[in-house]
């Protein structure tokens, strides 16, 4: 493992959050935080944003238009069939297929987007920073080179709320 990394391990969510907030007030931010379940203070505090729901909206918009366009093409342009004199473009009954197919498109594309953006995919080889992070430990990782003078303050905060992983 990289020697420049400093790892703080915390026993529960509350201590993690308190330590995180204290560090933030001193201008220290961890490189990454590993938790057994999502901790919202951390997700907000790390300052990253996800635009996955915006992406999903556009998948849905273009998916719906695409499916309706395809149904129109198949039923009106490519091979119109006369069902008892009804119009070829039976829009109301296209809605059913368009709705369900759009949901499928949104789900699959959003999953792929998630997989690509969060780097979660089958066969990924992972370097586990601390095996407890998926069990009962809350782990913060710092880059020593970026800490500068703050290192002593940081070490003090970590030992107050948790412990330093050697």
């Amino acid at each position: 493992m990289n020697n420049n990394l400093l790892i703080g391990v915390f026993p529960d969510e509350d201590r993690l959050v308190e330590a995180f907030e204290k560090m933030a007030s001193k201008g220290i931010k961890p490189v990454e935080v590993y938790t057994p379940y999502p901790v919202h203070e951390i997700l907000e505090g790390m300052g990253k944003k996800t635009r996955i729901s915006h992406a999903a909206f556009f998948y849905g918009l273009f998916g719906a238009l695409g499916v309706l366009g395809f149904l129109y093409y198949a039923a009106v342009i490519s091979w119109p069939l006369n069902f008892g004199g009804k119009p070829f473009n039976t829009f109301p009954s296209f809605i059913v297929v368009a709705l369900v197919a759009t949901i499928l498109i949104v789900t699959l594309l959003t999953l792929f987007t998630f997989s690509a953006r969060a780097q979660i995919y089958p066969g990924k080889v992972v370097e586990v920073v601390h095996p407890g992070a998926t069990d009962d430990k809350f782990v913060m990782v710092f880059d020593k080179t970026r800490l500068g003078d703050n290192e002593t303050v940081l070490l003090q905060i970590i030992s107050e709320y948790g412990e330093i992983e050697k």
């Binding site: 990454e32 990253k48 039976t90 953006r117 780097q119 407890g132």
Partner: protein, 463 residues
């Protein structure tokens, strides 16, 4: 979160557990030696599945003439079972999605089992329309692809095609929803496993999950999107199944009540099956601390409510048949169903779905696990009779008495159904054995809503 400290709900997790205990106790059945009863049940279910496969072979080999169908009753047990399985398959997503939207934290103990059950039940369901095609090897004709037959497209106005789209979408979506929920738990098993093989296998399925904030952030975004969109799907899938019946002009089918009636019925049978599974989880795997009396209580109360809706729907059907003044509707409801040849099936449905679940009003009933288990089984049988009632009776007595016919299934039809029961039981047993049956990361995230364990809580703004 004072809501959960009132008398209405007990604690979400009993026994004041640490996070480590939570992971260890949920993973314990995966780490433990396979119990003898598991092998017994598994071999029995494989036997049932084997018999079912033999019956499917006979069906495909000689055509659906091997079933008890005739010209009048073209939809027999196959469609009864199809609708029944699809209904059961509704609970998983209903549980996860509706309770997620309603912010019901108690769902965390049950959603994993419900979703697993969904995936297996929908697979069982999908078998029936496939076999009913008669020539299942040509099933791909139903995909709208550019072909050399014209191109002759499928009929986009047909509910049977809507159904195909809905079922395939539902299977794919509920399976991915279930799987992505398990990724963090597979990572937990990977990091706790001692054997190298186990580490590698669960590591592969964990997709490289580490629990970093960047992963959780997007994971939450993903659940939000999937949750919102699958809620629409749950409602639409069974509405579409109901249009298979409702758009055809048969007495007893051609009613506007069908879509909501089917959706509620589906959720009803699904929740009953969830109750069957969680009572088994408690009895066989001692998951009492996670699936507490309060969880069982909550599901029972929901079932009372849904059962009342079911009863109302049955009475509405009867009332409208009379109120419409249509002699065909009246004949169907009163002469064929309530007092006629199929009275047994009608009353079995009515008693099991509308009356028996009302026993859940009594605390003494909700507290006795074996009674709850028994009632959940009765509801499932009742819901099967409901589908029988809908599919068979309407077809057997339509407008023209010359067309009237009766129906009884052949042993091959019964065998195919037995096969799907075997598939379902085998699937559930494999789930119990190899997959954490409770969502570990989700249950940890609600652990803090139990009684506060230390004084840090009051500083951190959680109250």
């Amino acid at each position: 979160m004072l809501m959960y400290k009132t008398e209405i709900r007990g604690p979400l997790i009993a026994g004041d557990k640490s996070l480590k205990q939570i992971s260890e106790e949920i993973i314990a059945p995966i780490e433990a030696k396979t119990p003898w009863w598991w092998w017994g049940a598994f071999l029995t279910s494989l036997g049932m599945l084997g018999f079912g496969l033999y019956c499917m072979y006979l069906t495909v080999n000689s055509g659906i003439g091997a079933w008890g169908l005739n010209n009048t009753i073209g939809w027999g047990w196959a469609i009864v079972n199809f609708v029944w399985w699809i209904g059961i398959g509704h609970a998983g997503t209903a549980f996860s999605i509706f309770l997620l939207i309603l912010r019901q934290k108690w769902r965390t103990a049950i959603n994993r089992a419900a979703e697993a059950m969904t995936v297996v039940a929908v697979m069982c369901a999908a078998l029936f329309p496939l076999l009913h095609m008669g020539r299942p090897w040509l099933f791909f004709f139903i995909f709208p692809y550019p072909n050399t037959r014209g191109p002759l497209w499928v009929n986009f106005n047909s509910p049977l095609f809507w159904d195909f789209v809905a079922i395939s979408a539902y299977l794919l979506i509920s399976a991915s929803f279930w799987y992505f929920g398990m990724v963090p738990d597979f990572a937990t098993i990977r990091d706790k496993a001692k054997s190298k093989i186990k580490k590698a296998v669960y590591g592969f399925f964990a997709f490289g999950w580490t629990g970093s904030s960047r992963e959780w952030l997007r994971y939450e975004g993903l659940s939000f999107v999937l949750g919102g969109i699958a809620a629409v799907l749950v409602v639409s899938v069974h509405s579409i199944v109901s249009t298979d019946f409702a758009v055809s002009v048969e007495p007893g089918w051609h009613t506007t009540i069908f879509p909501p009636y089917f959706v509620v019925g589906a959720i009803f049978s699904g929740f009953a099956m969830v109750l069957t599974l969680v009572t088994l989880m408690r009895a066989l795997y001692k998951m009492n601390d996670f699936v507490t009396n309060s969880h069982i209580d909550a599901v029972c109360r929901i079932l009372i409510f849904i059962s009342l809706i079911m009863g109302t729907a049955y009475l509405t059907e009867i009332f409208i048949a009379w109120y419409s003044g249509s002699e065909y509707e009246m004949y169907m409801i009163f002469h064929t169903r309530i007092f006629g040849e199929y009275a047994f099936q009608f009353w079995a449905m009515f008693i099991a779905n509308a009356l028996v679940p009302q026993l859940f009003w009594f605390k003494a009933v909700r507290r006795r696990l074996w009674v709850v288990f028994l009632i959940s089984i009765i509801i499932n049988i009742g819901m099967w009779f409901e589908r029988f009632n809908i599919v068979i009776t309407s077809l057997s007595r339509d407008y023209l008495p010359a067309n009237w016919a009766n129906y009884s299934p052949s042993w091959i039809e019964v065998g195919v159904f037995t096969g799907t029961l075997g598939l379902f039981i085998a699937g559930v047993l494999l789930f119990f054995r190899f997959i954490p049956m409770i969502a570990i990361s989700e249950i940890k995230s609600v652990a803090k809503y139990n009684e506060p364990r230390h004084d840090h809580l009051k500083h951190s703004g959680h109250e």
